[in-house]
Symmetry: C2
Subunit: 236 residues, 2 copies
DNA sequence: TTTCATTTGTCCGTATGTATC
DNA sequence: CGATACATACGGACAAATGAA
């Protein structure tokens, strides 16, 4: 219940329905017909995403997150969704799409994924507006994701998983660093080998914190930037 | 109250008092003599920092965060504390320490800091084990931070602020990107100009979400990495 | 396979504290 | 000072997942 309320509040804020402040808790209680605890729980979710400033005795103020760079990713919302409004959807060119065993994958051993786990391997170039912006290498545990359609691999895999298996990201571990492009990576990204580029390694967990996906994404644009909001649960 | 309990739980976990699971909520209620809501609130805090996996019907499992790189920063704990256990404390070499007006600072205008705000400016080289690891450019609003001792600037400013003014980080906005080193930056960091390095721009907020500090840190080591855990408030 | 106790997840109502205006 | 609004804490009830009998 508080999940839905949180979603509605987030939508309302991003749509600009509340310009400077959120209604008071009392008003929100009346509007949604729930108890104060439930409203506060929902507000916690919104607050955690950095959309609110909370001031005791005064109210909840809207925070307008700034993403100056054209290529910016907001990591605090969970999966790496580009947060630029009305951004065009990325397209993909598949490099590899097969199955593998975790033990044979460097990324998997690095993150202590169970060695004998079977995974779908998807390596693809990601395009935005016909320009390549990332090289993505992602893996899906077949124990959790029994099937991956070629169609979804060409589009949004996460959307496919949500619709088909009701798999959603509950938590994620994110590691940001620079990688020196190897020959093959460089040619795929159309850059010089040895160039340093931002790289996001990610572990994604779903219900009950079971790992279902891990990936490594190298971003082509040197101006790429990542945003992340960290908020303690209560502000005072 | 739940804050203290959360702190105690975090300490207990990092000290290795609980190896695989946390005690049940019922036991924690008894141990701390508080209600279930309070315990759960405290656990929320711990969970948010990525130290726990929670499984309905089963319990809370300890998560051991992996930071493979020697130079790794955990951003989900708030300020940029190095999380390597027993890591030596960094030392500093001051490049600049004076006052300035926000309007004259590119970083401040970029983040829409009130133009006429007065700030302490601290530019310093950060050393770990006699080796330079970062060039830090940080600003403290004098409206919130009335005084900065030279002593603290040579050591830990955040510790000084906590002890002296009871200023703690409640929330932060973090921006990670690469910067191409300018001449002066390159010489300070002992690198070639034009080199790409990881850069963390940070806005730090204290009680009632008032901004008290913003900074930009360029990390010398190309192997530098950042960790960040993102967890939705409830896992199921 | 079913049942049942355990354990966490959600929601409610209430009371009191504290900061803001 | 009083009214408003958010912060914390308690107790109770039921739902849902887990794990063992």
């Amino acid at each position: 219940m508080y999940h839905e309320i949180a979603d509605q509040l987030i939508q309302a804020i991003t749509k600009g329905q509340f310009t400077s402040k959120l209604p008071t808790e009392a008003k929100l209680m009346a509007r949604f017909g729930v108890s104060r605890n439930t409203i506060r729980r929902a507000i916690d979710v919104v607050y955690q995403q950095g959309l609110l400033r909370r001031v005791q005795g005064s109210g909840y103020y809207i925070n307008h997150v700034q993403l100056n760079s054209k290529h910016a990713v907001n990591l605090s919302v969970g999966a790496g969704k580009p947060l630029v409004k009305n951004s065009p959807r990325p397209t993909s060119k598949i490099v590899t799409f097969d199955k593998a065993i975790a033990a044979t994958i460097p990324l998997a051993t690095q993150f202590n994924v169970e060695a004998d786990a079977e995974v779908y391997r998807v390596i693809r170039l990601r395009y935005m507006d016909a320009a390549v912006y990332a090289l993505e290498e992602s893996y899906y545990l077949t124990a959790v994701v029994p099937f991956l359609s070629t169609e979804s691999v060409n589009g949004s895999i996460f959307e496919f998983l949500a619709e088909t298996f009701n798999i959603a990201v509950i938590a994620s571990d994110d590691y940001l660093s620079m990688t020196k492009l190897a020959e093959d990576q460089a040619t795929l990204l159309d850059q010089k080998p040895g160039t340093h580029r931002l790289t996001l390694a990610q572990m994604n967990y779903t219900k009950n914190n079971t790992l279902f996906n891990f990936s490594k994404t190298i971003y082509a644009d040197p101006k790429m930037s990542f945003y992340f909001h960290s908020a303690h649960l209560s502000s005072n």
